[in-house]
């Protein structure tokens, strides 16, 4: 009797383990199935390279959304990575235990704050601040810069946590060897610890990028959601970041609830592009982590 229960349970457990694969399969199936008409009628290349998004008139260019997603991710990396790396090195190598006990939970809580709250904070505090700081015609405050700042804070915990782990995983003997040779702690960090943790740190940044590309609600709330291609507002090319934009994620969320027919297919096509983009990014991080682990 006990043997029979044991055998039965094994299959039930096996089936529950299969559930996650089944879900992945369903996600792929349904997203691709709905997206297929768009890809078949318009073609992959025109969708990826077109700059005009008018789904009602069968114009499905999402290049401006791809550009929006990439630019805001780039901005968040530029702003967030130095801070996140500083935080990671601080937590792993410099902070006294008491301070670490304060900073680490703070970083964890940053990861737990809902994205709508970041979006709300961005709308109420950041957007007016960005609007008033840069008096360029056409700068509404709802733009790539505000979105990049919000996103930088959102990816900060991801990068800090993984990079800290990578730095901690550097064997003690590396550091001791360096210190024994008379290097200061800072020299040891810069020339021994960080290079040794390099693949983990790069993986942390790439995973941060994946997180940034997938963020939806906070982006809708601060980026302006214009379907036009982002571009500089005046002769200074840096005003590009004061331009409104729309992300791939935002494109889906803003329009899906009222889209029908071909328009809906177009949004699923946007989802497929986003999915592939994120899988490539996450996959490369995974490769790096595995390569780092093997050494």
């Amino acid at each position: 009797m006990r043997k029979m229960v044991d055998a039965g349970v094994r299959y039930v457990l096996f089936l529950s383990a299969l559930a996650s694969v089944f879900i992945v399969f369903l996600i792929l199936l349904f997203t691709l199935r709905e997206a297929l008409p768009a890809f078949r009628e318009i073609g992959l290349v025109p969708i990826l390279t077109g700059t005009v998004w008018r789904p009602q008139q069968d114009q499905l260019g999402i290049l401006s959304m791809v550009a929006g997603s990439i630019l805001v991710t780039l901005g968040s990396v530029l702003l967030g990575v130095p801070l996140a790396m500083g935080g990671a090195i601080f937590l792993a190598e410099v902070a006294p235990p008491v301070v670490r006990e304060v900073v680490r939970p703070a970083v964890e809580l940053l990861a737990g704050i809902p994205s709508v709250v970041y979006g709300l904070f961005g709308m109420v505090v950041l957007v007016p601040a960005v609007r008033n700081t840069f008096s360029v015609p056409g700068n509404s405050g709802f733009n790539l810069l505000s979105a990049s700042i919000v996103l930088a804070v959102m990816v900060l915990p991801t990068i800090t946590n993984i990079a800290e782990d990578a730095i901690r995983a550097v064997p003690r003997d590396y550091k001791e060897g360096s210190l024994a040779l008379g290097a200061t702690r800072w020299q040891t960090i810069v020339r021994v610890t960080l290079p040794a943790a390099r693949s983990g740190i790069i993986a942390a940044i790439i995973l941060g990028v994946g997180r940034a590309l997938g963020e939806t609600m906070a982006m809708i709330m601060v980026i302006g959601n214009s379907i036009r291609m982002p571009g500089p507002l005046d002769s200074n090319p840096l005003t590009l970041f004061l331009s409104q934009a729309r992300t791939l994620t935002g494109n889906i969320a803003v329009e899906i609830k009222y889209a029908t027919g071909f328009h809906e297919d177009a949004l699923f096509a946007t989802g497929v592009v986003l999915f592939v983009l994120i899988m490539v990014v996450n996959g490369s991080a995974r490769l790096l982590i595995q390569r780092g682990g093997r050494k």
């Binding site: 006990r2 996600i27 809580l109 704050i113 709250v117 804070v153 999915f275």
Partner: protein, 333 residues
């Protein structure tokens, strides 16, 4: 790790240590005579650098305090018992009147169902992956291949952005072309369960892996079957980690917006009861979004946001306390 030089992959750790030290340390020193970079100077550089590191550590705390502080202080202006207990009035566009009571109720229902669905499924999957899949290692055949596919699947699922889950839920559950459940508690709960499943599987897997081998061996030696061992010995020992994973998922569901934006609907009226699975609703996070984007009622949005943040902080605290208490209790046994 070395840039151009085709470093042999069989390098031992000691070799790597040595190579790193040799490559990195002396080359720079050779460029400048050693005397010039005196200890005092190097220590000065270190002080400056450490100063910056301290600043970034402090910045993380400062960012947290300013976001949380701002939302809570602004939210406190509208927060009172009445705000918590009156439903939002009006329709989609006029919900700047009234409070947030129905959104709390909807959130609770949503959390309940996502965990009821994803919790057992995730824990059972984790038991299989740790306790049963191990014996497949090195074997060939269909099941071992499936096991590695499952691991890969969990990996992928954990990286899928939430709006893709939303899109999938919309296509499979909401849309009339498939199941046709429209915007409802059941559409939202099942999609939400898919979202948190990898979180629960991973946390449970870690927790089950951490149970010492000797526990299992002792149980098996007493004649218990594999399942009896897993159910009566391994699971209780892994409980703190599993509960932590589940509480983490509760937090995830409470803060998730994108998925429920496209599956839960957004009506201010809550489902009649937790079993009213076919009614749409609006979670607290969704309420913040609608208030900010549709009605521009920023004061109420801040109030709801404050409740949301305080709930998340409470959950984090609870998680720490529970896992610590359970861990110490088990250790004491």
């Amino acid at each position: 790790m070395s840039d151009g030089a085709a470093g042999p992959k069989t390098m031992t750790r000691e070799d790597a240590t040595f190579a790193t030290l040799v490559r990195l340390a002396p080359s720079r020193e050779d460029a400048r005579p050693r005397r010039k970079v005196g200890l005092a100077r190097r220590q000065l550089v270190q002080k400056a650098a450490f100063g910056l590191l301290w600043l970034s550590g402090i910045a993380a705390v400062a960012i947290l305090l300013s976001v949380v502080g701002y939302v809570v202080v602004q939210g406190a202006k509208v927060l009172n018992w009445e705000f918590l207990t009156t439903p939002p009035a009006g329709g989609l566009s006029a919900s700047d009147v009234g409070g947030m009571s129905t959104t709390i109720v909807s959130t609770v229902y949503l959390v309940f169902w996502t965990i009821v669905i994803a919790g057992p499924l995730g824990v059972m999957a984790a038991i299989y992956l740790v306790e049963y899949a191990e014996e497949m290692e090195g074997r060939t055949g269909l099941i071992p291949v499936l096991v590695s596919v499952v691991r890969f699947g969990v990996e992928i699922l954990a990286g899928v952005p939430s709006i893709i889950f939303g899109l999938f839920g919309y296509a499979l559950f909401v849309s009339a072309t498939a199941l046709g459940w429209s915007f409802s508690l059941r559409s939202a709960a099942v999609t939400g369960a898919c979202l948190v499943l990898p979180v629960i599987i991973r946390a449970s897997e870690e927790a089950i892996k951490a149970v010492p081998r000797s526990y299992r061996e002792a149980s098996l030696a007493l004649g218990a079957t594999k399942w009896q061992t897993a159910w009566k010995v391994v699971l209780p020992a892994a409980a703190p980690g599993i509960i932590t994973g589940i509480v983490l998922s509760v937090g995830r569901v409470i803060s998730e917006t994108a998925v429920f934006f496209v599956t839960f609907g957004g009506t201010v009226r809550a489902p009649d009861s937790v079993f009213d699975l076919t009614s749409p609703g609006r979670s607290m996070a969704l309420h913040v979004y609608y208030l900010a984007m549709e009605t521009r009622a920023f004061d109420k949005a801040m109030g709801t946001g404050a409740v949301l943040i305080l709930t998340i902080i409470l959950i984090n605290l609870l998680m720490n306390v529970v896992s610590r208490r359970l861990a110490s209790k088990l250790k004491g046994r």
